[in-house]
Symmetry: C2
Subunit: 205 residues, 2 copies
Amino acid sequence: MPGATRGRANTDADSGDARARLVAAAVEFFARKGFHATTTRDIATAARMSPAALYVHHPSKEDLLYIISRDGHRQTLRLVRGAVAVSPDPAVQLATIADRFAEHHATHHETARIVNYELSALSPDHLDEITAIRRAIEAEVRAVVERGVAAGIFDTPDIAMTTMALLSLGVDVSRWYRDDGTWTPERIGTYYRSLALRIVGSRVS
Amino acid sequence: MPGATRGRANTDADSGDARARLVAAAVEFFARKGFHATTTRDIATAARMSPAALYVHHPSKEDLLYIISRDGHRQTLRLVRGAVAVSPDPAVQLATIADRFAEHHATHHETARIVNYELSALSPDHLDEITAIRRAIEAEVRAVVERGVAAGIFDTPDIAMTTMALLSLGVDVSRWYRDDGTWTPERIGTYYRSLALRIVGSRVS
């Protein structure tokens, strides 16, 4: 997949650059004004394009939201799978997920807000596709909790609700995080390692 | 304060009813479309009024957002203070806060989303007032955590960050909660009691 993207950029650099500018402009406006209040003219102007040129690349404002949401969710799924791959130990896997997930939601808080708070603006087909990625993310985290409980190193009365709480705690970082706040994304990530281990009742926390 | 409100409603029932209809209509539209994309016409029509009649009660759309936000935050502050009042034991206080806070954010998820996700749309003066109430809520929760640590029944390395995590976990319920989901607000509240005690490293969890 990365190879295919690179290939396209090499043969069609201007078009790829225009698309990237449109996505960046859409992130900026969706984050500031919300999806519904953003106009295609806002996005086109910020990307130094005419509204007509925007439609060459994206058939609608919703299509831009879909691209942002799809890419954001795919990135989070890769992040979680990468964290699971660092160790066979469920405690290390969970701590790494919590760390990277929280740090990601701080660093990329603008995109993360759009990805998590504008789902209802997606078309039904696009929402189905995004929901499938969200379920895959949840399944990865739940599987780590299940393995920890099965191994006797985690102790939690409801694996589904604990999984929801773990994801919820990380997602909400994107709401409260401020670039001018006292806590860096790295420090938040480190703290969330221990919070996650406490939430699952880990013996090593 | 409740006496003053009742008195006003008794002497000016129609006006009070109109205000309540406008607030209910604003909650509905802000929750569905977001503050920026909602028009005063949307709100007036849903409240069965002309836009001109809306301005008799509220000078702007932002004024309605302010009323919703102020009342929502005051309600949460009362909820937290009421939970602290149930017992002198910090563990009982914290468990009660977590229970009621999470249940509230599930039951009133539409209002809670507006209250927490539309702060940037408030005027500077109104934001200052709301921020003061948010700081009071945070101070109540932090004081409970501090008392628990001082009493040796909680064990947490960073009281400020732990307080943020406790509030964050409760607020985010309003994002993921669904009326047609499997978990009732009551069940979520009960589960969040134990999550909160785990997060603070309570010896009684």
